[in-house]
Symmetry: C2
Subunit: 362 residues, 2 copies
Amino acid sequence: MKRRDFLKVSAVGAAATAVAAPAIAQSAPEIKWRLASSFPKSLDTIYGGAEIMAKQVAELTDNKFQIQVFAGGEIVPGLQALDATTNGTVECSHTVSYYYVGKDPTFAVASSVPFGLNARQQNAWMYQGGGIELFNEFYKKYKVYALPGGNTGTQMGGWFRKEIKTVADLSGLKFRIGGIAGQVLQKLGVVPQQIAGGDIYPALEKGTIDAAEWVGPYDDEKLGFVKVAPYYYYPGFWEGGPTVHFFFNQEKHAALPKAYKAALFNACAYTNTWMNARYDALNPAALKRVIGAGAKLRPFSNEILDASYKATNELWTEISAKNADFKKVIDAMQAFRADQYLWWQVAEYTFDSFMIRARTHG
Amino acid sequence: MKRRDFLKVSAVGAAATAVAAPAIAQSAPEIKWRLASSFPKSLDTIYGGAEIMAKQVAELTDNKFQIQVFAGGEIVPGLQALDATTNGTVECSHTVSYYYVGKDPTFAVASSVPFGLNARQQNAWMYQGGGIELFNEFYKKYKVYALPGGNTGTQMGGWFRKEIKTVADLSGLKFRIGGIAGQVLQKLGVVPQQIAGGDIYPALEKGTIDAAEWVGPYDDEKLGFVKVAPYYYYPGFWEGGPTVHFFFNQEKHAALPKAYKAALFNACAYTNTWMNARYDALNPAALKRVIGAGAKLRPFSNEILDASYKATNELWTEISAKNADFKKVIDAMQAFRADQYLWWQVAEYTFDSFMIRARTHG
């Protein structure tokens, strides 16, 4: 009911209505939004997050606030989800902040950078360490407001046609890897390749590229890389616990009734848990299946990890020297990380260490 | 507005009202509930979870659904929160399921048992592994419906007056520890003690008890144990990632409008993340402070962990032989755990391992 209609009704003289209706007219309007996901429907876990969020919001508002989800490419190409939200083509999007490092490397730190935080630490930083507020200061430049909306957990390091044991083995390696992780590995001789998901398999098969990283067992299995690049490396040290974000057009978000903002906040928080839980629940069986199909699990050597860590810190120094926004957030992340791992290594890590040992030897 | 009032108003002939009002009268009633927390206000993180949940529900419903939170002892003693929810003295409670092992050991498995799941695995089990549904089947016997509502992360093993290196050192040790963990340690010679929080310090000081476990650095610091029992052991292997639960009186929950059920579901899920994030954010500084105050950090020896693991599995066999509900949930947990650690040891654990090494040596 529009406010004008209410006034008309009220004038009829129904006192009981006059008490109840104003709050309704103002606080529960019917709203329809469109959401641009960066992901294809085939990636049901990461794409599915937006459907889950929309479903919760609808239930929370008695279907008054409806968000229609469009897969990557349906309204705009997947990697233009942020731009579409900034310019109001859509009211919101579900995407990964690090996709937008071409605009500013600061975007990456909100999701994941090499040797960043694990998934639970990322939550601690976002929800209780000032992370949400810190990044929304930056996002104002792009007229969006962002909330965490998913996490994959630590990803895998990718599929390699041959074994990689030393830093020397990385020299000239054509590796499908993007963004800041590509910049780090370039310092070690890797030749980063930008290839869309659907083109990776034939490129690996023909040997146009030597390796490719994607997500983890559940998503990787679908692309069938095991047949053409069987060495499956871990960990994906450039994605220790990447946060997937919901971006909202700032003006549209600010105009929402308070209860609808609360609906978005809580639905996004649930989706954040849902996605991580779903990856955790699905990855073990997928890992068994890819191993059954011939995947050869290999840890990155300490030599490669150490050299990558050094290259990462050099890159932070270089970028920080010319980008104050980046310096602010990378310094904050590093300070938070130091404290987190100080604590993590005590109770959490020793518990997990024992449980892993007990599973394999107990 | 009551339905009767609406009918009266409608009869006046205001067509616009007739369209809008029925949904309102049915779907957004004013409801006030009382919540019994098991915790004292001084434990702001674990007690605070109920306040956070109530605040989200109020915001989600334009303050129509209000939940008033009472600390342990205000309506009923902290450990009677479940009973008060079952019998309808309160509509809901915020408590730990394992407090109720005296009724049935099955309660413990929903929160945490020795060598159970870590916090993230617990979420995966609850939200995506059938855990919520599995336990609500059991909780029907107690006329409650439960949702996850917090997690402390892996707890510490407690404060000891002297060092404990071998299983022999446990013999006759008067250890303040409750529930199933106490039963496990009893098999190794420990004499479990049940002492309320406020009485622990004087008992440790006088030597009436030899050791006491509580939570982790942030909560433990408040009780000042470091002065009287400086050996601070880890990990608390009986609480790898304990879930705190919200319990709802089943009948009251079932009678709620769909949108209010959604408000509870999402607010509880946010609180689940909030509490873990808050403990993670606060524990590192507290750990530094207790170490500064003289705490001597000590890991439990492998001998003690191995013997405790063996004793735990023996206890599961004993209880399972006589309790079908327990057998069902402990078998489900163990199957889920085996898969979780199979995957966890690959990407997550090697990432954390490197980060811990980098922090201390890099």
